[in-house]
């Protein structure tokens, strides 16, 4: 196997808060190979966002080790190895939608003319053409989230970290973007680490699904999901698909601390 | 029929923006009877949030008329007729989670001792016991959203306006909260106006589903959904359920401006 893009060994992270420590990650072990599409799924508060943040060098692990592209997360961040879609849109209120999408390009020194072209292409991909000159507060919640996806894609990173990017979108758009993302992934062989709450979405997109459980955040199951590269939407009706979904659901249920 | 809780007649709303007007709602007609559970579903940007905001008197319609409990939205708001769960958690950073949930109770003059009891009960309902003394930024996105749900339920309004309350939650918690909400609804006969992007969720919860389409925001379909008051989770496998879901999906697809 090629060198893993992400290699986490006994990773753990404890937040110190006023009323005692919170164990957000505990003994987390995971290797992600280049070109993989990994979904993280698990109850709210189980540490998915925290894991992405550790990978992105936005948070430092308090135990264990992690490498990104064979380097420390910090080196990877400085090398601009990844693009990150946050759980909330986090658009800058003083920039137009186009300005927001162009921002990473600006920072990375892409020439002005190219910036606009690339940003507009990404906005078209998420179906926001025509909203370039609006300011964030003039857009609906889902539209803002789509703008933030366009922003993360704009500079074409090899590694994509996506934290519930499609949470605020309706099924149709979501399906559409799922397909787009799959196409993009197949074409560019990016590595994707994807947080979602939707089991069908996870199964539809991933090569592997990591099921997590909370307090402390740890892995309860890793489900292989080799549906092949070609995945029409209809695949979701096949028994293979439903079987995997069922296994994920069981893992998820097992991890829940309360009875449902 | 009893007097409608909400009666919208030819409702429309136009936002004036710097580069021209945006028609967010257009000729919107809807009556909602007491005790109904109405879901609004539709592509991002179709005006769902705007509609809730008009009902809540946070936005004024630019055309048509609307009454809430037979009064103007303003009178209804002043009478504290409704509870509102926003699309974003909007927790106050200077208050603990418990403090945030107690906020409406404080405003409505509930005695101090009772406030804490009621707020803690609501937090237990959304499975946030033990996080009372944390501050919002110490919680994951989904936990924040759950806190905001607890806050809206705490003062037991007769009319609930919920804007994608479960968007950031995983399937298991979502199922759990769906059931809780349904129970609450059946027990208290609240009227609920519920925005969601999940077709199964809409079908599972609602008595009627309003399918909307964007630019301008208007109704494309209203789907009756009389699955009876008793709805175990398994009802989602029944043909009746799937039929309704299919109809909603078609309405949704028809409203989309682009081909999928």
């Amino acid at each position: 196997m090629a060198e893993p893009v992400i290699a986490a060994r006994d990773l753990s992270l404890v937040f110190a808060t006023r009323d005692g420590p919170v164990q957000a990650l505990s003994n987390f072990n995971l290797d992600i190979a280049p070109g993989e599409f990994i979904s993280l799924i698990g109850p709210s508060g189980c540490g998915k966002t925290t894991l992405l943040r550790v990978i992105a060098d936005l948070e430092s692990a308090t135990g264990g080790s992690i490498t990104v592209n064979g380097r420390t997360p910090e080196q990877a961040r400085l090398a601009r190895d990844y693009g990150y879609v946050f759980q909330a849109p986090a658009l800058y209120p003083w920039r137009t939608i186009l300005g927001n999408v162009m921002l990473p390009l600006e920072i990375m020194g892409i020439p002005r003319a190219e910036r606009a072209v690339r940003a507009k292409a990404q906005l078209a991909l998420v179906n926001l053409s025509g909203f370039e000159r609006k300011f964030p507060w003039q857009l609906s919640g889902g539209m803002q989230q789509r703008a933030s996806i366009a922003r993360a894609l704009a500079f074409e990173p090899k590694l994509l970290l996506m934290d519930e990017p499609f949470g605020a979108l309706d099924e149709i758009v979501r399906d559409h973007l799922n397909e787009q993302l799959l196409k993009l992934w197949a074409a560019t062989r990016k590595t994707v680490v994807f947080v979602t709450h939707s089991i069908p979405e996870a199964v539809f997109l991933s090569t592997r699904i990591v099921v997590m459980s909370p307090r402390p955040g740890r892995i309860t199951d890793i489900v292989d999901c080799n549906l092949g590269p070609d995945r029409p939407l209809e695949i979701r009706e096949t028994p293979e698909f439903l079987r995997i979904a069922q296994r994920v659901r069981e893992g998820l249920r097992a991890g829940h601390s309360y009875d449902v | 029929m009893a007097e409608p809780v909400i009666a919208a007649r030819d409702l429309s709303l136009v936002f004036a923006t710097r580069d021209g007007p945006v028609q967010a709602l257009s000729n919107f007609n809807l009556d909602i009877a007491p005790g109904e559970f109405i879901s609004l579903i539709g592509p991002s940007g179709c005006g769902k949030t705007t509609l809730l905001r008009v009902i809540a008197d946070l936005e004024s319609a630019t055309g048509g008329s609307i009454t809430v409990n037979g009064r103007t939205p303003e009178q209804a708001r002043l009478a504290r007729d409704y509870g509102y769960v926003f699309q974003a958690p909007a927790l106050y950073p200077w208050r603990t989670i418990l403090g945030n949930v107690m906020l409406p109770l404080e405003i409505m003059g509930i005695p101090r001792a009772e406030r804490a009891v009621r707020a803690k009960a609501q937090l237990a309902l959304v499975n946030l016991s033990g996080f009372e003394r944390k501050f919002p930024w110490q919680l994951s996105g989904g936990m924040q959203q759950r806190a905001s749900i607890a806050r809206a339920l705490a003062f037991e309004p007769k009319l609930l306006l919920m804007d994608e309350p479960f968007g950031a939650l995983d399937e298991i918690v979502r199922d759990h909260l769906n059931e809780q909400l349904l129970k609450l609804w059946a027990a208290t006969r609240k009227t609920v106006v519920f925005v969601t992007h999940s077709i199964p969720e809409a079908v599972f919860l609602s008595t009627r589903i309003v399918v909307m389409s964007p630019r301008p925001g208007r109704i494309t379909d209203i789907v009756d959904c009389n699955l009876g008051p008793d709805r175990p989770l398994e009802i989602r496998e029944t043909p009746e359920f799937l039929r309704i879901a299919q109809r909603v999906r078609e309405g949704l697809r028809a409203g989309h401006s682009y081909d999928v």
């Binding site: - | 809540a56 008197d57 946070l58 504290r80 409704y82 509102y84 405003i107």
Partner: protein, 223 residues
């Protein structure tokens, strides 16, 4: 040089003149500065609350507030001495005039700083204006209010000292600095300045401590 005596000379004088320095400190800081600061900040804050409530007043008062702020101390000090007498009351009045406006501007800005969604929440509860103020606007305005409190702390001291320039009893930090400077007793002048700098810094430090406790939740308080 005569204008800058050696630190040792200043320290010696500090020791010798301690009772006199304490008397000046009482007159200027404990009496004039503290009372003027409290009244000035209170008034600016109060007017900001009123202005926030009554848009008509806000539009009418703020431009006039700017006019008042623009009044130079050296101009108002003699007038206030004329009105309020020579003792610390007129110095406190000068401090009031100086601290009023920064507080007004900052509080008005702070009261407008609460987010749109956060306001909508209050609206949805049909919260009374008082409740909205107490539970949302004031907490959200705290970072701004503390900015004004901090800016005003040294400003109040300067105001009181300069005001003493335009007539005063024969005591007070400003009185001492100007009269002794003219007499070239610069060791005493610098001793008095050290007192002023330390008192002003300590005052500021106290406000900053209070700020830290009160606005722990603001992004700027977290690293």
């Amino acid at each position: 040089m005569v204008l800058l005596p050696a630190p040792s000379a200043i320290a010696a004088r500090f020791w010798l003149a301690a009772p006199m320095l304490w008397g000046d400190f009482t007159q200027t800081f404990l009496k004039a500065v503290l009372s003027g600061y409290a009244i000035g900040c209170g008034a600016g804050f109060g007017l900001a609350l009123v202005a926030d409530r009554v848009p008509f007043l806000r539009r009418g008062l703020l431009p006039l507030g700017h006019l008042v702020a623009a009044l130079p101390v050296v101009g108002i000090a003699p007038i206030l001495a004329m009105w309020f007498g020579f003792d610390w009351q007129s110095k406190a009045a000068v401090v009031v005039a100086m601290t009023f406006f920064p507080m007004l501007v900052n509080t008005v800005a702070g009261l407008a700083a609460a987010g749109a969604l956060e306001r909508d929440l209050m609206r949805s509860y049909a919260a009374s204006p008082g409740q909205t103020l107490w539970l949302l606007k004031l907490p959200a305005a705290l970072p701004f209010i503390f900015t004004a409190l901090k800016v005003n702390a040294p400003l109040a001291l300067i105001g009181a000292i300069v005001a003493e320039f335009f007539g005063s009893p024969t005591q007070g930090m400003g009185f001492r600095i100007t009269t002794e400077a003219a007499k070239l007793a610069l060791d005493l002048v610098w001793a008095e300045i050290v007192v002023a700098a330390v008192a002003g810094s300590a005052f500021y430090g106290l406000v900053a401590l209070a700020e830290r406790a009160a606005t722990f939740w603001h992004p700027s308080a977290r690293p």
